[in-house]
């Protein structure tokens, strides 16, 4: 019952126009190897659901995004995501902008097959103005409070990156924060897990307690080992954020010529070529 796949097989199973959820948070534990493969693919018109980081940036830069559903896009140590900014300023993407907590409730609703979850969050803010489809409900109890009915963030596919997984699709995080990856996995019709290391099922608890088994195989359609596959985002404890490379990415993104050079050097081949190019760049900049 192995669900082991290649990045090519996973991305090959996606279709243009799909709604794709991406786990992680900002520039942390993003399934970048899968994101890079989408950039190489002919896929287009995607609706991307993400607590955005360079995943959103890269997909925007490669013209893959029709609509973005998010609360932010950031590189964390660099506050603003340059390609996301450019795409918004060019009017190249549509956006559904939610508060972080509303977004989480949308995930919880989808994960539990509920049409919506109520929260006061959003009331009074311009989130209500720019999302005219958002409806409110009134508490049927004595309080009679008005609440925002955050619709379920359903998605065709979710992509998450974990520290360890087995070939069955059980997946484990070893860092300090699970982010919302389990919710993405439950919210999507189909979830693919990339991981730093694929291990035997019997070895999963050698590195972390049972509570670190965040995602169950019941929610996973395929799994792929992508060492350093979250690069350049943080993937503690396997590797931290590659701050120097992230700076190079952000600097390059601000200038068409530099961006062409960056694409040419790092993103013109497959994932192995990417990792090799990064290694060479690191040697040069030691």
């Amino acid at each position: 019952m192995s669900k082991a796949m290649t990045v090519g097989e996973i991305v090959g199973s996606l279709e243009s126009g799909m709604t794709v959820g991406i786990g992680g948070w900002g520039s942390r534990r993003k399934p970048m190897a899968l994101v890079r493969e989408i950039c190489r693919s002919p896929l287009t018109d995607l609706t991307v659901v993400s607590y955005g980081g360079p995943d959103v940036g890269l997909l925007c830069a490669f013209g893959k995004v029709r609509r973005l559903v998010t609360a932010f896009a950031t590189l964390d140590s660099i506050p603003l995501e340059p390609h996301f900014r450019q795409a918004r300023q060019d009017g190249a993407i549509e956006m559904t902008e939610y508060d972080e907590g509303m977004f989480m409730f949308g995930l919880y609703a989808a994960a539990h097959r509920l049409p919506f979850l109520p929260t006061p969050v959003g009331l009074g803010s311009d989130v209500m103005r720019v999302n005219p489809d958002l409806k409110t409900v009134r508490s049927p109890y004595e309080d009679g409070r008005e609440l925002v009915a955050v619709p379920a963030l359903t998605m065709d596919v979710a992509l998450v990156h974990m520290n360890r997984a087995d070939a069955r699709g059980n997946a484990q995080y070893l860092g300090p924060d699970p982010y919302m990856d389990d919710l993405f996995a439950k919210a999507a019709d189909r979830t693919y897990v990339s991981c730093e290391r694929l291990v035997d099922t019997g070895d999963l608890l050698k590195e972390g307690p049972v509570q670190s088994l965040l995602i169950s195989r019941t929610h996973v359609a395929g799994v792929v080992e992508t060492p350093n596959g979250a690069h350049f985002t943080d993937c503690a404890p396997d590797h931290g954020r590659d701050e120097a490379f992230q700076k190079l990415y952000a600097r390059s993104a601000g200038d068409p010529e530099k961006w062409a050079a960056f694409r040419d050097r790092f993103l013109s081949g497959d994932e192995t070529a990417y990792q090799d190019a990064v290694r060479v760049w690191r040697e040069e900049n030691r």
């Binding site: 603003l80 972080e100 969050v121 311009d126 924060d177 919302m180």
Partner: protein, 250 residues
């Protein structure tokens, strides 16, 4: 001159700002201080916890609630709790939280914008996005940190309401601490008021750096100076690298 006064007299502007941020947490008790806006408010929250507000819960900048206030940039050491992003977002609803955010624009009622400049449909400058602004301001005590007080930040209107102000249902916008002054909303209609100016700053300077009409009392006091003990804690314990000075150059 007592040693206390002598020490306070050489306090930098950044240190006065950090103390003003610490003061924002006075009386908060056992709640989470989420000072995400920068080094100065983060230092302020840990300073408050180290001195007059020992019940506060503070993080190391990550998901660990540290057993003691830790220096800026240091990992937690001993840990007393865990607060991953999802629990932060639940805690917003629960309410035991005081957040300090950094606005790109703020108006007289404390409505703030961190989302975009210009028209949302196609912004002139895309910023972060609303992040947790709508929930934080609606449900938690919120304060703001503005490292560069100017008419670009203090605007007649904000282009996008990502954080709600007192005229849109804010729970409590407590104070706005800037590199020049401390502002609050202690007016009958909860408009912004000048509470104090930092040493060396004139009322006129603050008024000129604010893009809307500020309520200015007849007597504007000076912001509280750090005590000798507060200076020692900031300089020797919580921020020996002087990150605060980078945010507010003297």
């Amino acid at each position: 001159m007592s040693t206390e006064t002598a020490a306070a007299a050489d306090a930098t502007r950044a240190e006065v700002c950090a103390v003003a941020c610490a003061e924002a947490f006075r009386g908060d008790g056992e709640i989470v201080a989420a000072a995400v806006a920068g080094f100065v408010p983060m230092l302020g929250s840990r300073l408050a916890r180290s001195t007059f507000e020992p019940g506060l819960l503070t993080t190391d900048g990550g998901p660990s609630l540290s057993a003691e206030p830790v220096p800026l940039g240091a990992a937690a050491g001993e840990v007393e709790g865990w607060l991953p992003f999802r629990d932060h977002l639940w805690l917003v609803l629960n309410g035991r939280r005081h957040v300090v955010m950094g606005p790109s624009q703020i108006d007289r009622f404390g409505n703030t914008n961190i989302s975009c400049i210009g028209d949302w449909e196609r912004p002139k400058r895309q910023l972060l996005g609303v992040r947790g602004g709508p929930g934080n301001t609606l449900l938690n005590t919120t304060s703001y940190w503005v490292p560069k007080h100017s008419t670009r930040v203090f605007t007649e209107e904000v282009d996008f309401v990502s954080g709600v102000g007192h005229d849109r249902g804010a729970y409590e916008i407590r104070v706005v601490v800037t590199n020049l002054a401390v502002l609050d909303f202690a007016t009958p209609d909860r408009r912004m008021r000048l509470r104090s100016v930092h040493p060396g700053v004139t009322v006129q300077q603050v008024v000129e750096s604010t893009g809307f009409e500020l309520a200015v009392p007849d007597e504007v006091p000076e912001s509280r100076l750090p005590t000798a003990e507060e200076l020692r804690i900031m300089r020797d314990v919580l921020d020996p690298k002087g990150l605060r000075e980078r945010e507010v150059p003297s």
